[in-house]
Amino acid sequence: MSGKKPPFPLLKDGKRHDGRGPMDLRPIQMKVGILHNADGSAWVKMGRTEVIAAAYGPREPPMKAMILPDRAVIRFRYHMAPFSTDERKSPAPSRREIELSKVIREALEATILTHLFPRTVIDVFAEVIQADGGTRTAAITAASLALADAGIPMKGLIAGVAVGKVEGQLVLDIDQVEDEYGEADMPVAAIVGLRKIVLLQLNGVLKPDEFLKALSMAWEGLKRIYELERSVLGSKYKGV
């Protein structure tokens, strides 16, 4: 959303610059249990965006001062690897990463049953390996899978997807180019099984009717991602 003119048309004959239709998701791949040392882990690839998430806990807090007497503390870190972007990104947490860590943590707090483990801490780390737009939604999807893989009690799996506005048209699951030259970007994450939205941000401008349409488009995408999450997680236990 730089306001600049795109170097090539983002929408041509109803097709987007990468050949997708407005309602198409990028090719999605997911895996769980990829890290040996974490209690739970997941890898999510949406198009060229790649995120690894690791979940630990509930475990004993490193500092007694941080414990809560009635529930578990959740710590979440969203981080982009220095090699994840075109130009090297400083590994120090940026303002954007600190903010995203906070909003994703709050989204996870809505699904994790923290009251079951008072006086403990649950740690989730999401590392963006390759960034091509939609990293926060991929991170929250990966974090949710990692939590389920770690057996941390939760209300349901979270899926995330972004809807954008490109050359006046709403499109699902935008990538870096569409985000940069588009008119709006709206990431949505939800506990799909319970039909509860846990994260909703909007960068840019949408009219009220466009907003409602964008939300229903996001739901369509979320349902598809959720089904994929379920099948990936379920395939781990196909022998039971």
């Binding site: 475990r59 483990f117 389920a148 057996g151 941390i152 939760m154 209300k155 997680l233 781990k236 039971v240």
Partner: protein, 236 residues
């Protein structure tokens, strides 16, 4: 809505399991309730018998339960008790009187004469309710400090697989190797064998169960592994 049509099944987090059923007190950590419907909170197997729902989690940490036998590692001691790592979010407390079997007098008794930091112990959870740390007890038969053998650590959620139905898996390992095995509910397993080779074989078998817990034909694989390893090491 009545979704309690099946008696047994597999559920992922967020899946509705049943409505209008009672939840087994040991299963409340793995489910939640909205209106009258019970939903799974972790990947789990469930079973409904006589309108009571029992859930077996497939992942997760060890949550102490009174009566469980666990294998702990002494990590610290203060004036009245030891602190014991029991592979759980909560640290175990072992009071001196639960070791000595008599009232403890700090003026006369030195805790480090009995248990040192780094000692492994077989203990029973005496009391626990999440608002306070679990209290351990090592008095009783086959309990106390471990002086020989080997400790193998696995995921606590794989413990039922190592034991098997009616201890079938455990008995296979025991009979095929002539080892003494104590499986702690917290995922630590103590093994004492006639020789080191057998100890290694048991460790390999247990690690195989942990890795392939949800794949079919596990019993046969364990039997084959033990037989092959014994053959290779010249123990047959």
């Amino acid at each position: 809505m009545n979704v309690a049509s099946e008696k047994r099944g597999f559920a992922l987090p967020g899946d509705p399991i049943a409505s209008n059923v009672n939840v087994d007190p040991r299963s409340y950590l793995y489910v939640y309730k909205i209106d009258n419907t019970i939903y799974a909170a972790v990947p789990c197997m469930y079973e409904i018998t006589n309108n009571v729902l029992k859930v077996i989690p497939l992942e997760g940490v060890y949550v102490p339960k009174p009566g469980d036998v666990v294998i702990g590692l002494v990590i610290n001691f203060v004036i009245t008790h030891w602190q014991v790592d029991i592979n759980s979010p909560y640290i175990g407390i072992l009071h001196a009187s639960n070791v000595l079997g008599r009232p403890y007098n700090p003026a006369k008794d030195e805790l480090k004469d009995y248990l040192e930091i780094g000692d492994y112990i077989i203990a029973r959870i005496e009391n626990f309710d999440r608002t306070r740390d679990p209290v351990l007890d090592i008095r009783g038969k086959d309990m106390g400090r471990i002086t020989e053998g080997k400790i193998i650590e696995i995921k606590p959620s794989r413990v039922p697989k190592v034991i098997g139905k009616k201890k079938s898996m455990l008995n296979i390992i025991k009979n095929d190797t002539n080892c003494d095995i104590v499986v702690g509910a917290n995922g630590r397993i103590w093994v004492k064998c006639p020789n080191k080779d057998l100890e290694d074989i048991v460790a390999l078998a247990i690690k195989l169960i942990e890795k392939e817990a949800f794949l079919p034909g596990l019993t046969e694989k364990v039997r084959t592994l033990i037989a092959n390893e014994k053959h290779e090491r010249g123990l047959l």
